[in-house]
Amino acid sequence: MNNNTDKQEYTITVYTENQVGLLNRIAIIFSRRKINVESLNTSPSEVPGIHRFTIVVEESRDVVLKVVRQIEKQVEVLKAYFNTNDEIVWQELALYKVLSEEITEKVKVERLLREFGARAVAIRKDFIVFETTGHREETNKLMKALEPYGLVEFVRSARVAIIKESAGFHEKLKDFEKREPGEEVIENEYLGKREAVFTM
């Protein structure tokens, strides 16, 4: 398959029941197809009892579409969407640990923080931890800036993303709970509107 050219970043959003083992069920859908997961976040959603996965992969649209269908097929998955980067608002959080001595001596810390939209979340005699959120490039920039001053440790969270078109999941869930859900829920989006799939 020569579809390497149309590979791009896709963010997959999955609403699920909160069930032991579901993470693995979803993960093996990727590993079975030898797809690398770039980033994965799971946490409770705005709806009690419903979890939200945010998964980032770099793949062609065709592959992502098929993977998303396999995810939706899992019994405990309520709904899965996938979006390109321009269809979502997304952020990653990063933490940076630097030695206090080094940084306070050589840098105007306040200016640094302002410049990178960061804040200090822990200030101790021996070290300081900065935090910033943003896209990959933004969090990378601060890392680059801190490197000369002895960056001791760095960690970045998985991506979290909001789908621009989404109207939330509360109403949809009510429909899922009905024995005979309305057409929107029961409808096969894939077949109905092929081009506009996965808008909510």
Binding site: R69, E76, I186
Partner: protein, 565 residues
């Protein structure tokens, strides 16, 4: 409301009874002993079949499910008991067979400690089950089992595995009765049928000059054989089958144009690339059916009916995807399509059949060689059973030959391992099939290779006294691999020369009568003796060593490049 103290084990068996289970295939062991202890008191209500290996147990469960249309139930213990189920689970998953497997597990407090016979069966079986769940508290048993049975049989059926820790089996709890499950909010087995795709499909069919219907097991799983027949009859369309769709339409139906795929018939393969509308019903465009995908039915508009939305557009892009249960979608299509006769188009198929008949079918069925062929054995069976038997096959050349040549009048009569291609499936599946349809004759057609993989199940036949006719077609080779080595590896026969024991003596040691046929003159009477024998019987037929199955679509070739020799 019913309220009494039950143990977890009793609750498991109560659930089985409430779900209408009457037959269980299983094998006891340490971690499932409490359930077996409870079973001692349920012997009158639940017929437990003691198999000889858990793999045999699960294949029997599959055979049972396939012949009866009910959920197959399998019990196994933890550790090796559970891991021995894996092949059967994978087979049932890919062939959409409804199963509920219950495995014992070590005490909950020992989970993760590498306890004796502990294995992480939930994670091992995750990719090969529709759903699985571990129970460590007996209170959960009724509701989880209700969910298990519901999931196994609804939507696109599949295997479900429930792992129950020993403490939960022993635990006494307040039993509130059993409530079957019919809704899970995150699970949508049955879509609402949408009118617009029905209309689009109807329009395509009505405008088609050369429509071809291809059907799979979806027709059988949806119990939609009648609806399917009406559908193809109204518009006079030729219909070809995948090996799992086989027997959904009687062999001698005038619109049945034969088998698709690698060893399928000449006409349906070639004409897949000449039809103008291809209507796929409950099939998933497996690579053994489609051959080379980028040369598959490119000229045709594709209508794809399936209950599983992830199948639509998966391998072949559909112009109209009809998502739904074909029991509901087919009648809607039938309603819309025009009454037509397509005798000219059917005559094209007949022309191909004629050619195939001359070059392949007739020489195979009525060979002029000294060696017997598999096809003539099947012909002899057809002549006596008249297509009324259940044919269970293993995997390999004999499987392709049986599917090509066996005659079927009734649905659920062809039981084979299609998607996974599990050698060793045949014998245990035939045992299960007989338990699932006791009034019918069950014939297991098995190669000398596959039979040696699960022949321990002769012990199950011996102990239960079940009546299964076993036909070993012995070519003294792992024939299908040998055929490929012959055709594609310059006849370098690498480890395909397989020796056999004396099967008749082997059967005899299990108390099963049998015979071996080496000459054509003895074949008719031997088949007759087998079928008239009261009880199980093993017939070994020595067939030509190096016969190849044709036609064949070589791997990587288009269906229209099918070779007759």
């Amino acid at each position: 409301m019913e309220q009494k103290q039950l143990t977890g084990s009793q609750a498991v068996l109560e659930a089985c009874i409430a779900e209408g289970v009457d037959t269980i295939f299983g094998y006891p062991g340490g971690a499932i002993m409490p359930i077996y202890d409870a079973l001692y008191d349920y012997k009158e209500k639940l017929n437990h079949i003691l198999v000889r290996h858990e793999q045999g147990g699960i294949h029997a469960g599959q055979g049972f499910a396939r012949s009866s249309g009910k959920v197959g139930v399998v019990f196994a213990t933890s550790g090796p008991g559970a891991t021995n189920l894996v092949t059967g689970l994978a087979d049932a998953m890919i062939d959409s067979t409804p199963l509920v497997c219950i495995t014992g597990q070590v005490f909950a407090h020992l989970l993760g400690t590498d306890a004796f016979q502990e294995t992480d069966v939930i994670n091992i079986t995750m990719p090969v089950t529709k759903w699985n769940y571990q129970i460590t508290d007996a209170e959960e048993i009724p509701s989880v089992l209700a969910k298990a049975f519901y999931l196994a049989r609804s939507g696109r059926p599949g295997p479900v595995l429930i792992d129950i820790s020993k403490n939960a089996q022993l635990q006494q709890f307040n039993y509130q009765g059993y409530t079957p499950c019919n809704h899970i909010r995150s699970y949508r087995p049955k879509p609402v049928i949408r009118k617009n795709y029905i209309d689009e499909a109807v329009a395509l069919i009505n405008n088609a000059k050369k429509p071809l219907v291809i059907f799979g097991q979806g027709v059988i799983l949806g119990k939609a054989e009648k609806e399917f027949k009406k559908f193809i009859e109204k518009s006079g369309m030729p219909a070809a089958w995948t090996i799992l769709g086989l027997s959904a339409l009687p062999t001698d139906h005038p619109q049945n144009v034969g088998m698709l795929g690698m060893h399928g018939n000449y006409g349906p393969n070639v004409l897949t690339n000449e039809c103008d509308v291809l209507i796929a019903v409950g099939m998933r465009f497996d690579d053994r059916v489609t051959g080379r995908l980028d040369k598959y039915a490119k000229q045709a508009k594709i209508i794809h009916l399936d209950i599983d939305p992830s199948e639509i557009d998966k391998n072949v892009k559909a112009d109209v995807g009809v998502w739904g249960d074909c029991k509901e979608t087919l009648p809607l299509l039938t309603l819309g399509i025009e009454q037509k006769e397509r005798s000219e188009w059917l005559a094209v198929f007949a022309e191909y059949t004629k050619q195939e008949n001359e070059q392949c079918i007739h020489p195979e069925m009525y060979p002029s060689t000294e060696d017997m062929t598999m096809a003539e054995v099947i012909r002899n069976v057809n002549e006596i059973t008249e297509g009324n038997a259940i044919m269970v096959t293993d995997v390999g050349q004999h499987q392709m030959v049986t599917c090509r040549y066996a005659k079927f009048n009734e649905s659920r009569s062809n039981i084979t391992s299609g998607g996974l291609g599990t050698m060793g499936f045949g014998l245990p599946a035939a045992i299960g099939a007989k338990f699932g349809a006791q009034e019918r004759t069950v014939i297991a057609v098995i190669g000398d290779g596959g039979f040696q993989m699960t022949l321990q199940e002769l012990g199950t036949i011996m102990q239960t006294g079940i009546d299964v006719k076993i036909m070993i077609l012995n070519n003294q080779f792992l024939g299908m691999v040998r055929q490929w080595q012959d055709m594609f590896n310059d006849k370098r026969y690498s480890f395909v020369d397989i020796a056999s024991p004396n099967y008749v003596m082997l059967a005899k040691s299990y108390g099963i009568d049998g015979a071996k046929v080496e000459h054509r003159k003895d074949l008719v009477s031997a088949v007759k003796t087998m079928l008239e024998h009261k009880g199980s019987y093993l017939l070994e037929v020595m067939v030509g060593k190096e016969n190849n199955v044709f036609p064949m679509v070589p791997q990587g070739c288009s269906v229209s490049e099918i070779r007759l020799k």
